[in-house]
Every structure is written in structure tokens, then in C-alpha cells.
């Protein structure tokens, strides 16, 4: 699971430019089903289980990651980029990035050295002033990069102690890996329902994948897999009780289906799977909201992998929580109803 996660965090796939990540996942899923395709928006849809069944369960995880889009290249070859998704500007000065041009190119977000400081050390850079330096002559930059190309934040994936993983894009490659591993676990099982695995595009921007793909499917039940907040310095209220390594978070929210939530909770209890509770008093801010209100409505649940430092290059998850999430979903899919 670790290698798969490291590989997936190292391919691009910024919101709206998910091609590289979609191709990687499609190849992986082909080992477990013949029915897998990538649509024009880079949504990956794989069908497993009983494709003759009139009951369909959808499992969704968003495939895209936050990043930037190139808007301009200046005379000196510096690249102007605007944010694509909920970029945290506090983490940007001197950030390492990969510009996904004709080929992947390492870059640095321009900043001033402390020797020449403007004294505004307390203030994050403004999002409209992001320039990227590839360290190449302008003509070389223009040969390889064009406006519209995507840029992702780079941090080499690494293992910390306690089976913790830190990388950029664990939101939501952790969820994607859970579904890839799920396919591997269930493809030989005798399953009564049709199982659709959706790796959806553009969650971080316009939720295009979650809004469009379910429209063409007749879904009875759906589970969205994403990441959510765990306890860390500065985090208060309910999330201060969420710990890494203590299992996936099951969400209660008006927009989610209570019976499905109860079913997941019962499965956890019966199978000794640790879980934690997340309460959203309004919508969840995930793909689950869009899937729940698709067509004439879909019974939807949200299962989240606890994460620290969300939307930064230092996101952290625990492999144990990902494994527990796979275990939970295997029972959800394979249990006779």
C-alpha cells in the first residue's frame, strides 16, 4: 500500500489536469476488471461485482489534487501561476513545485532572502503574486511550458515513525489508494450487487466529477472516501479529539443517509474495526454532498481518513487508518444483504 501511495502522490493530476493520475489508476484497475474507462473529464470509472444486478453501489474518491495553473511566462522566463483549488498561501514562498509542461520540470516559488527582508515576516505571500523559477533560460522555458499547464506542489513522499506517511496530495490520493486496494480485495469475491468505483475529477475546484458521472448511473447507495481533519496544534472543537491511527471517521450530517451511517457503524463494531465520529451540522464540503443530491437522490455515506496539515506539502496520514478503511469497505461490499 505504501509504494502505491508514494507513486500516486508523485504523479501530477491537478484539478482539471488529472490525465497522468487517471492513466496510472486505469492501468492498475485493469488487473481487476475489464470494465474500466476514463472519460473526457479524466474521471475513472471501474465496474466490478454483479453487472447483471439492478442494485448498484457507488464508491467515490476524488482523484485531483490542489495546484496551480500557468497564466503567463515573462521575458526572463519566470512563470506566473494562479491557484487551482484551495492553496494555502502560507506554504508557498520557496516552495518546490513541478511544472507539468511538455515534460515535468522542477521549479521554486520566488521569494526574497532574509538579508533583504521587507520586515513583513508575519504575512503570507498574496495569492496573486506567485512566480515560479525553473532556473532555465526564457527560450527553454517557452519551449516546454505554455499558459494553461498545471503546476503541483512537490514534497518527496516519506515515512515518519508509527506508519505515518507525509507527502503532498495525500488529499485525496489516500482515498484513491483505498479504492484501488479495495478492487484488489473484492475482484474474486461473489458479490450480489454491481459495484462502481469512481475516481472523480475536479473536487478541489468545481466538483465536476461528482456532479456529472452519477447522473449516468442508477445508484442505490454510495460511499465517498476522502480525508478529514485530525488533532494538531491550533485545532480545537470536535477535531481535537480525532487521532491518527484510531481508524476512519464516519460522518453524521443532514445531507448523508442515517441508515447507511448506522450500517457502517454496526459493521465496524461487529468486525473490530476502530472508527471515529465526525459531525457536520450542514453539508460536508465533499463529493458526498453532490452524490447525495444526484438525480432523485442517493443514500450516501462519508468515510474519511484522518489527516494532519491538510492542503499543504506536509499532509500526514496513517497507513493503519487506510487499511482499516479498506477492511470496512470490503465488508460493506461483500456482506450478503
Amino acid at each position: 500500500m505504501k509504494k502505491l501511495l508514494f507513486d500516486l502522490c508523485s504523479v501530477g493530476g491537478v484539478s482539471g489536469s488529472e490525465t497522468s493520475a487517471a492513466e496510472y489508476c486505469c492501468e492498475y484497475l485493469k488487473k481487476y476488471t475489464k470494465e474500466v474507462r476514463v472519460d473526457y473529464n479524466n474521471n475513472v470509472l471501474a465496474v466490478l461485482g454483479n453487472d447483471k444486478s439492478d442494485k448498484t453501489v457507488l464508491l467515490d474518491a476524488h482523484l485531483d489534487r490542489i495546484g496551480f495553473i500557468v497564466t503567463e511566462i515573462n521575458e526572463e522566463g519566470f512563470i506566473k501561476a494562479e491557484k487551482c483549488g484551495g492553496i494555502d498561501t502560507r506554504t508557498l514562498l520557496d516552495a518546490c513545485v513541478i511544472v507539468h509542461g511538455n515534460k515535468d520540470l522542477f521549479g521554486v516559488v520566488c521569494c526574497m532572502p532574509p538579508h533583504l527582508s521587507d520586515g513583513r515576516e508575519d504575512k503570507a505571500v498574496s495569492a496573486d503574486n506567485i512566480w515560479i523559477d525553473l532556473g532555465l533560460p526564457a527560450d527553454k522555458v517557452k519551449d516546454n511550458v505554455s499558459p494553461g499547464d498545471s503546476v503541483s506542489l512537490y514534497a518527496e513522499p516519506k515515512e515518519l515513525i508509527n506508519s505515518r506517511i507525509s507527502a503532498s496530495a495525500l488529499d485525496n490520493r489516500a482515498g484513491v489508494v483505498v479504492l484501488l486496494k479495495l478492487a484488489e480485495r473484492i475482484y474474486k469475491e461473489n458479490i450480489d450487487r454491481k459495484v462502481c468505483i469512481l475516481l472523480s475529477c475536479q473536487e478541489e475546484t468545481f466538483a465536476t466529477g461528482a456532479k456529472t458521472v452519477p447522473f449516468d448511473l442508477n445508484i442505490d447507495e454510495s460511499v465517498t472516501i476522502d480525508v478529514s481533519f485530525a488533532s494538531q496544534p491550533g485545532v480545537t472543537d470536535q477535531y481535537s479529539n480525532i487521532k491518527l491511527g484510531k481508524g476512519p471517521m464516519l460522518c453524521v450530517s443532514p445531507i448523508l443517509n442515517r441508515d447507511l451511517f448506522d450500517k457502517l457503524r454496526t459493521i465496524c463494531a461487529e468486525n473490530n474495526i476502530d472508527y471515529q465520529l465526525e459531525v457536520c451540522s450542514c453539508n460536508t464540503g465533499t463529493n458526498g454532498d453532490h452524490i447525495a443530491t444526484s438525480k432523485s437522490g442517493v443514500k450516501t455515506a462519508l468515510v474519511s481518513i484522518p489527516q494532519k496539515n491538510m492542503h499543504s506539502q506536509a499532509e500526514i496520514v496513517d497507513l493503519k487508518d487506510m487499511e482499516s478503511t479498506v477492511n470496512l469497505l470490503v465488508v460493506v461490499i461483500c456482506k450478503r444483504r
Binding site: F78, C111, H115, E121, A124, V235, N309, M310, A314
Partner: protein, 340 residues
């Protein structure tokens, strides 16, 4: 020199903990130097005989240390508190990867933007609310891996794209790599080379090394602040990457020797070497400690223009390395030959 620079930059050695850098350098020079020793502060002082006895005693110097942090405490939750070593702008810290003690991986915490109010979302935390997460859940667990006083360095990649190099610690491993190359080559005159410690915390190594050596002249090989980035105009750029070796008239530590500046200029003109003059009085380097040593040492810094100094990743142009190297070597020969 490419492999050498990579080896030096990717090794870890903050001020006061330069041993791993020194060991690499000793290994590189031991078969070429006529003598070398390590002094009480950890400076590596190397003597290399040339083809001729010099008219003037010359010290060429570069610093081994890089900026970083020290572990100051461990919280009950197993998070690491840290203090900066050398000048680092807090704006380059949130969510950065670090290495503690050369082997423990960690990241600097960053509260999720989703949970921040609008002021918090635009503010860089103070050191008292910054932490490093190594994955530990308790103080006991963290203490198995980390102790107060341990050294912390940035953990990033090294990339050479043929035109430029991106890495941590180019300041001043680039200077070290050039001196190693000089020691490995045949020299016209006998020269002394000092790989010094603790530049980033107050030029301490250079101060004692200059006292010990008692040179007539010194050349400092440094990496200096280039701010030639979008939005920074004219003199505020200080110097430009890919425009050649940087010579300053004055910085925050030194007014440079006018005779040596003039000589550097004429060497550049006669040898097709690109040089540029620093366009602002900014920064400072070991020249500040060396030129005031004993009864005074005639000193010039020959610097490599470097963007994004003192951060996880800085950037230099490869062509500038050769300009700095060639200018410094010819200047060294002119000084030793008594031609100034």
C-alpha cells in the same frame, strides 16, 4: 565539480555541527594537500604547495556550515519545538520537510487553512506556535528518536538541469567545492585554504582561522543574495544570476580593499570572465572577521549570485561557478606573485 557540489549540498551540517561536511572535504583533499589540521573550533586548515614560493601569504576561505535549527524541547504530544540557527525568514517554514540528526524525518506543522479565520489564514506563525511532527504520539515515544540539542536541516532534493542547480545549502558548499577543486589541481604558488565553521551565527570560525594563519591577503568564496525576481526592480535586485562573479564595494560587515577590486576588474577584462558589482550594501560574510584580524588583512570576497538563500531550496547558474572559480584562482596567483 558537479558531483562534488551535490555530495556537499546533500550532506547536513548546521553551524556548530559541521563534522559530516568536514569529513567529506578531508576525504577529498587528503591525497592532494601537503598538510591539513582541524583547529579547536572545527575549522579545517589546509596547506598546499605550489610550483613557486609566494611573495605574499594568502588565505582562501569558504564556510562549511549551513542554516538550520536546533531541537529545543519535546511536547507531551510528541511534537518537536525548535529554534533557528542562522537567519531564516519564517515565511519559508510552514509545511517544510526536515531531517533531525541526519536520520529522523519530520515536517513542520501547518494548521489546515479550512480551520483558520481570515487573519490566521494570511499570517505566518511565530516560533512559539511552530512544531515539527515526526509521527510520534507522546513525549516518551519522540524521545526514543530525538533529544534537545539535536541538529535539524531542511530536507529537499538536489537538481542540476544543465543550466542551473537547485538545492539547500549552496551557501556555502559552492565555495567549499571550488576550494576542493583548487587543492586538487596544480597550483602556481603555495597557498592556505580554510574551510571554516559558524559563519551563519557570527563569523566565528573565520575569526580564529585568520588569527592562526596570520595571512597578508585573503579571498573569501561566498554565495550572495541575488534578488533578480519578478516585482523587484533595479538596485533592489542586488545582483543577477547568470551575470558572472559578484564583487562588492561594501556590505554590512566589510569595506573591501580597493586595490583588490581594481585587480579583479582588470583580470575579468583580460581573461573573458564575467563579473558584476553588487548594487546594494547588503548581507555580510567571513571577510568581516578576516579583514580586521590582527594588524589587518587585505581582503576581497568573490561571490556566486544565489537566489532564495537560507531556505529549503536555493538556485545558482552553473556558468557563474566557472566565473567565480577562474576569477578567484587568477586573483590568487597575482596576489601570491606580488603583482598587486
Amino acid at each position: 565539480m558537479d558531483n562534488l557540489l551535490k555530495k556537499l549540498c546533500t550532506a547536513n551540517g548546521i553551524s556548530g555541527d559541521e563534522k559530516s561536511i568536514r569529513d567529506i572535504i578531508i576525504n577529498e583533499i587528503k591525497d592532494y594537500a601537503n598538510d591539513y589540521r582541524v583547529d579547536n573550533l572545527g575549522n579545517l586548515i589546509v596547506y598546499k604547495k605550489g610550483n613557486n614560493t609566494p611573495e605574499n601569504k594568502l588565505m582562501i576561505s569558504a564556510h562549511m556550515d549551513e542554516v538550520g535549527f536546533l531541537v529545543s524541547d519535546i511536547t507531551s504530544d510528541g511534537l518537536i519545538k525548535f529554534s533557528e540557527v542562522g537567519g531564516i525568514d519564517r515565511r519559508v517554514l510552514p509545511a517544510r520537510s526536515v531531517t533531525i540528526n541526519n536520520n529522523v524525518k519530520g515536517v513542520i506543522c501547518n494548521k489546515p487553512i479550512h480551520l483558520c479565520d481570515s487573519d490566521e489564514a494570511k499570517s505566518i506563525p511565530k516560533y512559539d506556535s511552530m512544531y515539527i511532527d515526526i509521527g510520534a504520539d507522546s513525549k516518551d515515544e519522540a524521545q526514543k528518536y530525538v533529544s534537545p540539542g539535536d541538529s535539524i536541516t531542511f530536507d529537499t532534493f538536489y537538481e542540476d538541469n544543465g543550466f542551473s542547480v537547485k538545492s539547500k545549502a549552496i551557501d556555502d558548499r559552492a565555495g567549499c567545492s571550488m576550494m576542493i577543486k583548487m587543492i586538487q589541481s596544480e597550483l602556481e604558488y603555495d597557498m592556505y585554504f580554510t574551510f571554516v565553521v559558524q559563519e551563519e551565527v557570527g563569523l566565528n570560525g573565520a575569526k580564529v582561522a585568520a588569527f592562526s594563519l596570520n595571512p597578508d591577503y585573503a579571498i573569501v568564496l561566498e554565495s550572495t543574495t541575488a534578488a533578480d525576481i519578478p516585482g523587484i526592480e533595479g538596485v533592489k535586485q542586488v545582483c543577477n544570476v547568470n551575470n558572472g562573479a559578484v564583487i562588492g564595494f561594501m556590505d554590512r560587515r566589510t569595506i573591501y580593499d580597493k586595490g583588490l577590486i581594481k585587480e579583479a576588474q582588470s583580470i575579468a577584462e583580460n581573461n573573458n570572465i564575467k563579473i558584476q558589482f553588487k548594487r546594494a550594501v547588503a548581507g555580510g560574510n567571513d571577510a568581516g572577521a578576516i579583514h580586521n584580524s590582527r594588524g589587518g588583512v587585505r581582503t576581497l570576497a568573490v561571490s556566486l549570485p544565489c537566489r532564495y538563500l537560507h531556505s529549503q531550496i536555493s538556485l545558482i547558474a552553473k556558468s557563474d561557478i566557472y566565473d567565480v572559480y577562474n576569477l578567484a584562482l587568477i586573483l590568487a596567483e597575482r596576489i601570491c606573485g606580488g603583482k598587486i
